[in-house]
């Protein structure tokens, strides 16, 4: 048992892989078996995450910033190690991932084509995503950062809708292109510091003022370049305007569960990268360029909202909404970056509030975006169209669906009492004192958010019923409700009592920054 206890994170990380390997040996005709196996396998990390959660001490200590740490030699030849650990920022993300994966798999029960490959890829994807959140070694971080791309590429390219090849390639090339700079910067830092270990990097890289690299540039310039390499890589993933164009395509073409995971978890990887790497490793540069970051965040909020407003494709609309929502995360991060070296108590408070808001917004958007994409998928499976103009008045035909959709949309919109409100409020509250203009603009964006969500609700649920659907649409099945139930419970819970999560996040960000 002690082995299990000491390697809980590894178990969380590699259970999906192990399950995928086992699935290779299962017969491919037995689709029910394959689905159930994948579902059960993906529930194991979830349960283990709860175990970790239970044993997690929310208060970080200086001698133990990370918990459940595992360290083993991995690529010792280039001084990279297998180093895992969680803190108050990464644990919520791990929970989000392990929660959404089983739900996404459950949502994929409607996939009929090549179920085996599909489920295997999904499980591998989970390992990739978890690895990013768990890694405490820069190289390991990068490994998982990229590993997730491959299954996602094939999920989109194989099970997506008609423009899938274009979308999948665009997704992969954007992300890989963005990662090149990241990779180069990681190499550079690894060479300069002599280790890839994140904790060591935290201590040595920010203060480094002498490079062992014959680059012929001042250290500060090199650091600024590395900073931007990191920022671009993560900004593409988030995605931040103007690096967002892959997202609507990828989301629209991906299968439902793929979109759920893409919006629910993959986008968080970028934001997590900002928090885990950019701010601690580049404090000076972050502060220096906080304004630019804030500008990008606000642009994402406004243009994302406007973009969503202009869509007639339901799924595309939701896709743009992701850009809009993730903009708040970036805004929160930018606010924190601007205040990174502050010592005034007020500044510290603002910074913490902004970061709390950003992390919580990541979690919340994971819930609501996954829920929205799933609901779009539910409708698409029945109607085989996503054009908003084809719908209308469905509330009368699909009352349960209508209720669930309204609930989720409200969470997304930021209705007080549901989760979205809490996090957006925190971000705005934290950012206002430092980035007043940007925050004010973001508020305008928030207005558009309301507009496009209501537009969508109106066009789907209200107005005259398109007679085409009379008698052809069935309401949500029990399986679909099971998918939505946990999400809705959490949305409500976080809306009325966010403290259970915020407390952990708050202590972590207060300690880290």
């Amino acid at each position: 048992m002690s082995f299990l206890a000491n390697h809980l994170l590894s178990l969380i990380l590699f259970t999906p892989t192990a399950a995928a390997l086992v699935m290779l040996l299962l017969p491919k005709e037995k689709t029910t078996l394959l689905r159930n196996f994948a579902l059960v396998a993906s529930l194991i990390p979830f349960v283990l995450t709860l175990v970790v959660w239970a044993g997690f001490d929310p208060q970080p200590r200086a001698d133990m910033p990370f918990q459940f740490v595992e360290k083993a030699s991995w690529y010792s030849a280039i001084r990279a190690s297998y180093h895992l650990g969680v803190d108050g920022i990464s644990l919520p993300m791990v929970l989000l991932t392990t929660l959404l994966t089983p739900l996404a798999i459950l949502a994929s029960y409607s996939i009929e084509e090549r179920v085996k490959s599909y489920m295997i890829l999904f499980l591998l994807l989970e390992t990739g995503m978890l690895g990013v959140f768990l890694a405490l070694d820069l190289l390991l971080f990068f490994v998982f950062w990229e590993v997730g791309l491959v299954p996602m590429y094939f999920l989109i390219a194989q099970w997506g809708s008609k423009n899938r090849n274009y979308a999948a390639l665009k997704f992969v090339l954007y992300t890989m292109g963005g990662s090149l700079g990241l990779l180069l910067a990681i190499q550079l830092m690894g060479v300069a510091v002599g280790s890839f270990d994140l904790l060591e990097m935290y201590q040595r890289w920010p203060g480094l003022n002498q490079l062992s690299i014959p680059i012929g540039l001042p250290v500060s310039t090199v650091k600024a370049i590395a900073f931007w390499a990191f920022v671009v890589a993560f900004a593409i993933k988030v995605p931040v305007w103007p690096f967002h164009t892959w997202l609507p395509d990828a989301h629209t073409e991906a299968p439902t569960a793929g979109s759920m995971i893409l919006a629910g978890v993959l986008l968080k990887l970028g934001a997590y990268g900002f928090l885990r790497l950019v701010l601690p490793l580049f404090p000076v540069e972050s502060q220096q360029y906080a304004g630019a970051l804030a500008f990008l965040g606000v642009a994402a909020i406004i243009f994302g909202a406007l973009g969503a407003w202009a869509q007639n494709d339901f799924k595309r609309l939701i896709a743009y909404s992701s850009i809009n929502h993730m903009g708040f995360v970036v805004l929160g991060i930018a606010a924190a970056a601007a205040l990174l070296n502050t010592s005034s108590p007020g500044g510290l408070l603002d910074k913490n509030i902004a970061l709390n808001g950003a992390v919580l917004q990541m979690f919340n958007h994971g819930l609501s975006a996954a829920g929205m994409f799933f609901l779009v998928g539910v409708l698409y499976e029945r109607a085989h169209t996503r054009d908003l103009n084809d719908f209308g008045g469905l509330y009368a035909v699909l009352p349960v669906y209508g209720g669930v959709l309204i609930f989720t949309a409200m969470a997304s919109l930021g209705l007080p009492g549901l989760n979205g409100f809490v996090s957006e409020f925190l971000v705005v509250r934290g950012a206002w004192p430092v980035l007043t203009l940007a925050t004010a603009l973001a508020m305008i964006g928030l207005f558009f958010t309301g507009a496009y969500i209501l537009k969508a609700l109106k066009m789907v649920l209200h107005g005259p019923l398109n007679t085409r659907w009379q008698g052809h649409l069935t309401d949500m099945t029990r399986r679909e409700l099971v998918v939505m139930a946990p999400l809705m419970v959490l949305m409500l819970l976080l809306g009325v009592w966010p403290a259970w999560l915020l407390d952990m996040i708050n202590r972590a960000v207060a300690f880290l920054f």
Binding site: S73, W74, Y75, S76, A77, I78, L139, F142, V143, F144, W145, E146, V147, L149, V150, Y153, A157, Q158, N165, L169, V172, L173, M176, G177, L180, L183, L184, Q187, L188, G190, V191, S212, I213, P214, I215
Partner: protein, 491 residues
């Protein structure tokens, strides 16, 4: 006196090759059996070497020495170190795979397998030789199997051109290297070809600067260095599957390896002097090779040019002359060898069934041959340096090495990776996905069980290495250390 395992390793294919020639040409069953048994033995022996090499001791092991022509300073001296042992293992893997994918060769299988064995003996001999003359002897031994196998069993349209081009390029390279080697022989004043003795000879710096280009470039031509790389795609494409695998997978490593062992290890100061030039050429290799690969319409040419690009990384690793770079080069040699062997194996499988290699004429093959598709994708991911596969763990140290001497090289060379990703995804999509052309649909069937074994084995090696790079670095690290000791602890 321990068991002469290295000699046994080298002479197994030679004996098998001769034995094959003595079999009656019609007896195909026995011809294949003999080849398979020999290839299996080679693989097992190389695995045995891999496991029984004493890492803590390092250096050259399994030494064997016998007089050959002592008057002229020639000795039959064998041994492997951490650099060559992975390559021996690579050869074992590729020879074994080569025999399996060639199982159904119809035209003169006796000569085919016999020559294949001689080629195998040649590469194994080069990797194990600790005497310059012996190294050359084995190096040149490959000339006729290479040529004849391409010309006789190759792709009818280009085999005569491709085979001759390849052979002559490589022969030019080797004779230039030979001149350099002779200069080393006389310049040392030791009158010996013994590598270990020559390593300690301490040549004057002008001598090293003069002769390093001869030796290094001569061998590096076989490694595919720009601008002498054009034999590689033409030759690889013209060759039959197993030979493409061996040529790109192992022979190119032979060139790189010899350039390292003779060029850098014997003339370290020359290497220092010329390193910037090599870095430049190798960087062009990486980027240019990838670009050219991208615009190819022939499936096999894509892979051919990708080899040029990847070997550039090996050469960059060499030219950094530091620990990380050399380590990465060692890893990349192995990784690229396995990867490209798998690529060519799959290209061969596709061609055998579809009878075309035009990317535009192919499509949707994943439904017909899923193993091949998965294998190609895995190879592709290795090729683009995707983490989790052997390509990544090989490229990272190369780049880290480059950062330490020439950051610009790292920045430019990484473009090669992006381009590689682009064309690999394109090829995968066009060949294996999408709609399958009607005329292919009827013709194309799944790959054989032996093919699957090859795909599975090589893929497994690449994934295993991607997650556990120490499997190889435990060997390569001590090997690199001893090279660093020769070049003065690096820069």
């Amino acid at each position: 006196m321990q068991f002469p395992i290295l000699s046994t390793l080298i002479f197994t294919p030679i004996v098998a090759g001769i034995l094959l020639l003595l079999l009656p040409a019609e007896n195909r069953i026995w011809i294949r059996r003999v080849a398979l048994v020999a290839a299996t033995l080679i693989l097992l022996m190389s695995l045995f070497l891999y496991f029984s090499y004493d890492v803590s001791r390092g250096g050259y092991q399994f030494l064997e020495e016998a007089n050959w022509l002592p008057q002229f300073g020639i000795h039959y001296k064998l041994g492997v170190d951490g650099i060559s042992l992975p390559l021996v293992l690579l050869s074992g893997l590729v020879i074994f795979s080569g025999v399996l994918v060639s199982w159904n060769v119809e035209d003169r299988p006796r000569e085919f397998f016999s020559f294949l064995m001689f080629l195998g003996a040649s590469v194994l001999g080069v990797f194990c030789a600790l005497d310059l003359f012996l190294l050359f002897f084995f190096f040149e031994l490959a000339v006729f199997p290479k040529y004849l196998m391409i010309v006789v069993w190759g792709y009818p349209k280009t085999r005569e051109y491709g085979g001759m081009k390849l052979t002559l390029y490589l022969f030019v390279g080797s004779v230039i290297a030979l001149v350099g080697t002779l200069a080393i022989y006389f310049g040392s004043g030791l009158r010996t070809f013994d590598l270990l003795a020559l390593e300690q000879a301490g040549f004057p710096i002008e001598f090293q600067r003069l002769w390093f280009p001869f030796v290094f470039l001569g061998f590096a031509i076989l490694g595919g260095i720009f601008p002498f790389h054009s034999w590689a795609p033409d030759g690889h494409v013209a060759a039959p599957t197993a030979i493409s695998m061996l040529l790109a997978g192992v022979e190119m490593k032979v060139g790189a390896f010899a350039a390292l062992r003779v060029g850098i290890q014997l003339l370290p100061e020359g290497a220092q002097y010329w390193a910037p030039a090599i870095l430049l050429l190798a960087t062009i290799n990486v980027v240019y090779g990838a670009f050219i690969a991208m615009v190819q319409t022939d499936f096999k040419y894509v892979i051919g040019f990708s080899s040029v690009s990847h070997m550039g990384l090996v050469l960059i690793g060499f030219a950094t002359l530091n620990r990380d770079g050399l380590l990465g080069a060692g890893m990349q040699m192995f990784s690229h060898g396995v990867m490209t062997a798998l690529f060519f194996a799959i290209v061969g499988m596709v061609y055998d069934r579809a009878h075309t290699r035009e990317i535009g004429a192919l499509g949707g093959l994943v439904r017909k041959m899923p193993w091949a598709a998965v294998g190609f994708i895995i190879g592709g991911l290795v090729s683009m340096g995707m983490p989790g596969f052997s390509g990544f763990v090989s490229e990272i140290p190369v780049f880290m090495g480059a950062w330490q001497v020439a950051p610009l090289v790292a920045v430019v060379a990484i473009l090669g990776i992006l381009i590689t990703a682009a064309y690999i995804f394109l090829v995968v999509r066009r060949v294996f996905f999408g709609e399958i052309p009607a005329e292919l649909s009827a013709r194309v069937g799944d790959v054989s069980r032996k093919d699957k074994l090859v795909i599975g084995m090589l893929s497994a090696v690449m994934i295993l290495l991607g997650w556990f790079p120490s499997l190889l670095t435990r060997l390569i690290e001590p090997g690199v250390q001893s090279i660093l000791a020769l070049i003065g602890g690096g820069r």
